[in-house]
Symmetry: C2
Subunit: 309 residues, 2 copies
């Protein structure tokens, strides 16, 4: 695995020598494009499906999160970017699978037809497997990162995705929603569906930066609250925004138990704000430069700056 040559425009940040979320996102886009270009050994149809799924319009929240938490030195930027791209590949794989007819049966994703609509179910499933597998290959080969760190990242990503993580969340979402009755269970599902990969991305950033255990814990708290808020906001948008605005199917959750369906949009909104406030508190405790991450949250949640502490 050769790491990226993409360099970030560090001067574009108002915070001085720390990259901002927008420049990191551009670097992620650039590197993802590189990682799925010129693959002569890959069947063309499969390669196109991978590109279709991965390169659609996206906020790239998870790799940006990882990068901003890692605060890499210049010589580590390529590897940290690649670790973020690995997480984005895992996330994309989960989206392809979530959208399948036997799961959410969605038509639109990232402003494009879902991968199975564009390439058929078999190729869509194979594209997901390819992306998931590639993620582990990228992690194993991260240039200039200590072997022990790479192994920690790999184990952590496996746990986050596997049968107690994302996969468990999707199983409950598809086959176990009916048995969810209270806010705790719905929040647990939100955790598995979104929080778990947010926390994994953040923890990977923390490990890459070499933080001690206390700081890693604070980073994980930050990401957990951020992730739950993000999923709640997604549930609110599912009933209030248009398909065009979101670039994916809306009102797919109508019959599902979500915080919104259980308690209404305004209570969900309140819960979202509460989690964001706790996220900010944990961010401060983590000692990570808070400014670029606050800007990211403000943009994602479209809030005036004053609404965050």
């Amino acid at each position: 695995m050769t790491s990226s040559n993409a360099s970030l425009d560090l001067n574009s940040s108002r915070s001085g020598d720390i990259a901002d979320a927008i420049s990191v996102r551009s670097a992620v886009e650039h590197r993802l494009e590189q990682l799925v270009t010129d693959l002569p050994g890959v069947p063309p149809n499969l390669q196109q499906a991978v590109r279709h799924a991965l390169l659609g319009e996206s906020k790239r929240v998870r790799p940006v999160l990882l990068y901003l938490i890692a605060e890499p030195k210049p010589w580590e930027q390529g590897a940290v970017l690649d670790a973020g791209c690995a997480v984005e590949m895992v996330h994309t794989a989960s989206l392809i699978l979530d959208d399948l007819p036997c799961m959410d049966d969605a038509q639109l994703r990232r402003q494009r037809p879902t991968t199975h609509i564009a390439f058929g179910q078999s190729t869509a499933i194979l594209a997901a497997i390819a992306l998931l597998t590639k993620a582990f290959g990228i992690i194993a080969g991260l240039d200039g990162i200590a072997e022990a760190k790479r192994l920690r990242l790999s184990a952590l990503l496996s746990d986050a995705v596997g049968w107690e993580g994302l996969v468990a969340g999707q199983e409950i979402d598809v086959n176990g929603r009916d048995s969810l009755i209270g806010v705790t269970e719905v929040e647990e599902l939100n955790w598995l569906k979104t929080g778990v990969l947010f926390v994994a991305a953040a923890e990977m950033g923390a490990i890459l930066s070499g933080m001690d255990d206390d700081r890693v814990e604070a980073v994980k708290r930050f990401a957990r609250h951020f992730g739950v808020a993000f999923q709640t906001a997604d549930d609110i948008l599912d009933i209030s925004a248009s398909q065009g605005e979101l670039g994916k199917d809306v009102q797919k959750d109508g019959s599902k138990a979500t915080l919104v369906s259980l308690f209404g949009a305004s209570k969900a909104q309140l819960s979202c704000q509460e989690h964001l406030a706790r996220a900010d508190q944990a961010l401060v405790e983590s000692g990570v430069n808070a400014d670029p991450l606050r800007e990211l949250m403000q943009r994602l949640f479209k809030m005036p700056k004053a609404s965050l502490p």
Copy 2:
């Protein structure tokens, strides 16, 4: 990841202190069972699907191959067994997916209903993802194996499964068979569908045993010929054996280009014998104790001992 406590009955081997294929297979079964038991964090339906797919009747060729090539010292046996179980998980994941309605649409596998028949498509797909992901987690956490070796195994497994490996093979099998015209292309497909994971298992064994590059290359040649022979035999059995004998759907390949459909069973049989002879030659060159692997091949291909050099 804690490694297995399962110990092999080394005395059962006629070759002295090298385990034979049958005792290794028993140890693999035992360890696989342990790895998917008592998982309180896993949704019960998902756990049952994983167990259904993984613990069905199987020859466990890939983990046995890995183990017999690794020739582990007593204190390495647990970790080498776990590495084999990781490969078996990957293989099982590929079977679940191959059997889906959008792929081969199979009803029977490992003497059981296919996983999607027993648990529905969504849970089957999630079980496959869970197994694949777990495999990388196991590799990352292999007890007592040097970090650099674990990373090599992880990268190697990612390459074997990914968009230039198993996934490419399945894409061509499902969506590109029509364009296969000659023996070279069919053999290339056999390589991707079966050989690639045989070679990965064998190479992982070679890496775990600490072989030098020349011996690793000989091991890979051995496994490549073994894998191609195995897939060819499978194609022959597909038209000649009963469903009950194989424990899976038969005559699914009727319209597909295989060595059998292109050249008939007797020519395919000849090719199979040729690959087995070359496998044996490479095995000798590798310096690995050949007896248990020859016994494995003899049992798998139901040949009299004399037919192998």
